[in-house]
């Protein structure tokens, strides 16, 4: 039989252990690919930018963003990524975005992430069979043009180191 002090100590240890594990689970695994699904549309009125898209403001005067005046974040996920292991994200329109980290290079002290992406739709030809880009850490690129609910989707893809 366990004495009360020993039981309390065991319980405390267990709590600390679980808490540490939980804390660790809350820390995003890196590197990761962050995928933001943005709906752009043209509406009456001025520019409306989702508060969760502060970095998009600097692009709204450029094409193709210029065609729209309303930008809403529909979904944002951060998926841990490893070289050679594809990660798949199901988009809001049912299509799937697959991203693979092909390699990581060091260029002048900066990491460069070589990515491959594709967008598939079940039962149909791929919307995007292959896209390869090389991007720096936290340098986003966009895949746009998919029609969605009267607007257009912009997928913002960025590697978080």
């Amino acid at each position: 039989m366990i004495s009360r002090p020993r039981f309390e100590m065991a319980a405390l240890s267990l709590t600390i252990a679980l808490g540490a594990a939980e804390l660790q689970a809350g820390v995003p695994s890196r590197p990761a690919v962050e995928i933001s699904v943005i709906q752009a549309s043209l509406t009456d009125g001025g520019l409306t930018l989702d508060s969760q898209l502060p970095d998009l403001a600097r692009h709204t005067r450029e094409q193709p963003f210029l065609r729209f005046n309303t930008f809403k974040l529909l979904d944002r996920r951060e998926l841990p990524i490893q070289v050679g292991k594809p990660v798949v994200d199901t988009l809001v329109n049912g299509r799937t975005l697959e991203v693979t980290l092909l390699d990581v290079a060091d260029r002048g002290g900066d990491k460069r992430f070589h990515l491959r992406a594709g967008i598939d739709e079940p039962g149909k030809q791929a919307l995007l069979k292959l896209l390869e880009v090389t991007a720096g850490a936290n340098d986003p690129f966009f895949v746009a043009g998919q029609a969605f609910r009267g607007g257009t989707l912009f997928l913002e893809i960025v590697v978080r180191p």
Partner: protein, 187 residues
């Protein structure tokens, strides 16, 4: 004899409804026999291409060097060999058509393709203009290596995050937008 660029300009004017008389008939005959001409006119009716061209024309800072690239593109447009190479795939065609339209309008695509470093297929302008490919040396931002979208047209937009502040000596733009046509009914 007119150059291919003059033909393209005439087709653009036709698409805008600015031609009449002999010029209009000539453009119509061209459309009947030349699929590329038909596609150019169709692209001119695409509101997104129109908007892009208008905005690009407003970007005075992007001007310069158009003639060199335009000549190369329109040389390629002429002749059977060039034509077949021009129609390798829908992706290349989509990019090239936008390029051709922009070039015909006197808008250089240095900014458009500066960082669109396609390996295969390569962009027409980058293939033909060494000045464009020489810009590979830059290491910052996003580099576009390859695109393959056989069933949809693709355009590439370079974005800098500093619209209106672009200048000849400005640092390379930081990112790209890959625009994939997602027309209703597309496969």
């Amino acid at each position: 004899m007119k150059t291919e660029r003059d033909d393209a300009l005439e087709l653009m004017a036709f698409a805008d409804g600015q031609l009449d008389g002999e010029a209009k008939e000539r453009a119509q005959r061209r459309l009947e026999t030349d699929p590329l001409a038909r596609e150019l006119v169709a692209q001119m009716h695409d509101v997104r291409v129109k908007a892009w061209l208008e905005d690009a024309a407003d970007e005075q800072a992007l001007r310069g060097g158009a003639d060199h690239i335009a000549d190369a593109v329109f040389v390629r447009l002429g002749g059977a060999a060039g034509r077949s190479a021009f129609f390798v795939g829908r992706v290349r065609r989509g990019v090239a058509l936008v390029a051709a339209l922009a070039l015909a309008a006197g808008i250089p695509l240095v900014g458009f393709v500066r960082r669109a470093f396609l390996r295969a297929p390569a962009p027409v302008a980058a293939q033909l203009d060494p000045r464009v490919t020489s810009l590979r040396s830059s290491s910052a931002g996003v580099e576009l290596d390859e695109i393959d979208s056989p069933s949809h047209d693709v355009s590439v937009f370079e974005i800098s995050g500093a619209a209106g502040e672009l200048a000849a000596n400005a640092p390379p733009p930081s990112s790209v937008v890959i625009w994939i046509d997602d027309k209703p009914g597309a496969p």
